[in-house]
Assembly symmetry: C2
Homo-oligomer: 314 residues x 2
């Protein structure tokens, strides 16, 4: 473990990869790893990149890596794949688009599944981000596919949430419906060279004007990731957001809330394992549930009561 911690702190890519595998599997060794890295965390900026399948998130991520390297920053990309419950695996097709950066030692690229992690993506992501922070990557891009909760989770887990859209992939009303107007810090309309891009940009701006006023007004940027057009403006917008968030105290507040929430969620996930064990062992409770003599709320109350009694006796 000491060697692994040293490897991560030295920015050794193999050590970083091994540490993230431990996160994926939620291994017990993580306690020592996390404790050994913690004082070296908190110094990076994180960018969340979300959007529906097909909008071009990976191409944008690859483009952002290039733009960040041109500014001489070390960059890590964490592509978070939603859990695939049956196989526990994740496809890595998008890695191909990153190959231009594969030999650059200032770039670390990793797809991550959350196969063994009790808390799923929402808890595995911040743990992996801390590994990357400790390894000295100044900018960390967290990319995930998803509309809805996945987007909200990634927005909460990163400093700047970039939501990517593309013409033809749902209209602005549906975007608003998914609840992402409120959580995005920057909007990107990718494939800006396609028909309908201008309309989408205009609709988004209108919806943002109609929505709840926020201290930070998210810009809506037109990008064509395949040609690189608009990527520098995107990076400028991200930096402007971080500068605002630092100055206003919003960044500190978000990071504090994020840490506290993570601790509570980790503790709850641990307790849930205990609860599930107690429930499966309680034949009478299960029988009452299945016979519809007891509803889940009543069953949860009974379970908590038992557990409390067990702790008191324990």
């Amino acid at each position: 473990m000491a060697a692994l911690i040293r490897g991560v702190l030295e920015g050794d890519a193999r050590a970083v990869a091994r540490a993230i595998s431990l996160v994926e599997d939620d291994r017990p060794e993580l306690e020592a790893l996390a404790a050994g890295l913690v004082e070296h965390t908190g110094g990076s900026c994180t960018i969340g990149l979300t959007g529906a399948p097909g909008v071009g998130k990976s191409t944008i991520a690859a483009g952002l890596v290039g733009a960040l390297r041109a500014r001489d920053l070390r960059v890590a990309v964490l592509a978070v794949d939603p859990t695939s419950p049956a196989t526990g695996g994740a496809l890595l097709g998008d890695r191909v688009r990153m190959q231009a950066h594969a030999t650059d030692p200032g770039v670390f690229i990793r797809s991550m599944a959350t196969r063994g992690h009790l808390g799923g993506m929402a808890l595995a992501t911040p743990e992996a981000v801390r590994v990357l922070e400790a390894a000295g990557y100044a900018q960390i891009i967290v990319e995930t596919v998803g509309v809805g909760q996945a987007e909200v989770d990634v927005a909460a887990a990163t400093d700047t949430a970039v939501v990517v859209l593309a013409p033809g992939l749902g209209d602005a009303v549906q975007i608003a419906k998914a609840g992402i107007l409120e959580i995005a810090d920057v909007f990107v309309v990718n494939k800006a060279d396609r028909e309908g891009a201008d309309v989408l940009v205009r609709e988004l701006r209108q919806m943002l004007e109609l929505g709840t006023p926020r201290e930070w007004s998210p810009p809506v940027l037109a990008v064509t990731a395949t040609t690189g057009a608009g990527l520098d403006a995107l990076l400028d917008a991200v930096e402007a957001h971080v500068a605002w968030a630092r100055g206003s105290g919003a960044l500190e507040a978000k990071r504090r809330a994020r840490l506290l929430q993570e601790v509570a969620a980790l503790a709850a996930a641990r307790l849930r394992v205990e609860l599930e064990r107690a429930l499966h062992a309680d034949d009478a409770l299960v029988a009452d549930l299945l016979a519809r003599r007891l509803d889940p709320r009543g069953a949860a109350a009974r379970l908590l009561h038992r557990l409390d009694g067990a702790h008191r006796r324990g």
Copy 2:
């Protein structure tokens, strides 16, 4: 409360709507409501309808309602909107498409946000479904926007998971990436009259053949919801899945697992409130976290240790 329970059991739409509002807000009255309804639940079939924004889920839901009414079944549609964290609200734009059924007493349509519910959509949905079951709706359609976790949650919460796709909204590789090949019971390629629909149907079938073999092979159906083409075949496929699931024992196993998981999640959500309170009150722990002297895993362990001690003393 007795009047509300009676109203729900009589299938009174206003009582049902009020009960679901209680679920949305996670009101304390729910304990009595759930206990009063539980023996009348478990008799309905539930269909989950998920997919990215723009694939036409609502049009399919409206079409399914028509097809189910033609088979003389009472139908409820629960449109679950992902939480909108900033406003706590949800847009109801898609209800418009349901207006054809608005005056039919055999149809109940409801959009649901999960604004106050501790456990989010994953816990609010089954509670609302039980209200609809107790109200005598034989078929309950749960529609939600989402790719990834939202899809997995809805699949777990319903008997038959229908995943809707449309040409131009991401290719089959991206669909596989989102982990939904493993959780869908029926695939629908909507907008089958559009270019690319045939290719998408073929790609999906190929991916399913290449994937992990399952006892139930999910059919891939071409549907044009706007004209109604393919909707009857979709309903037949859902019924075939339910018949298979009943015969094989898969339905009973899924419902049992679902109930047990719900109880554990409800209990964990209750404990999490207690954990958050304890954490926010522990100034020393928060200070150590913020100063990066303590990592979240270590903090969670300390918090659990304290809570355990408090319970022992309590």
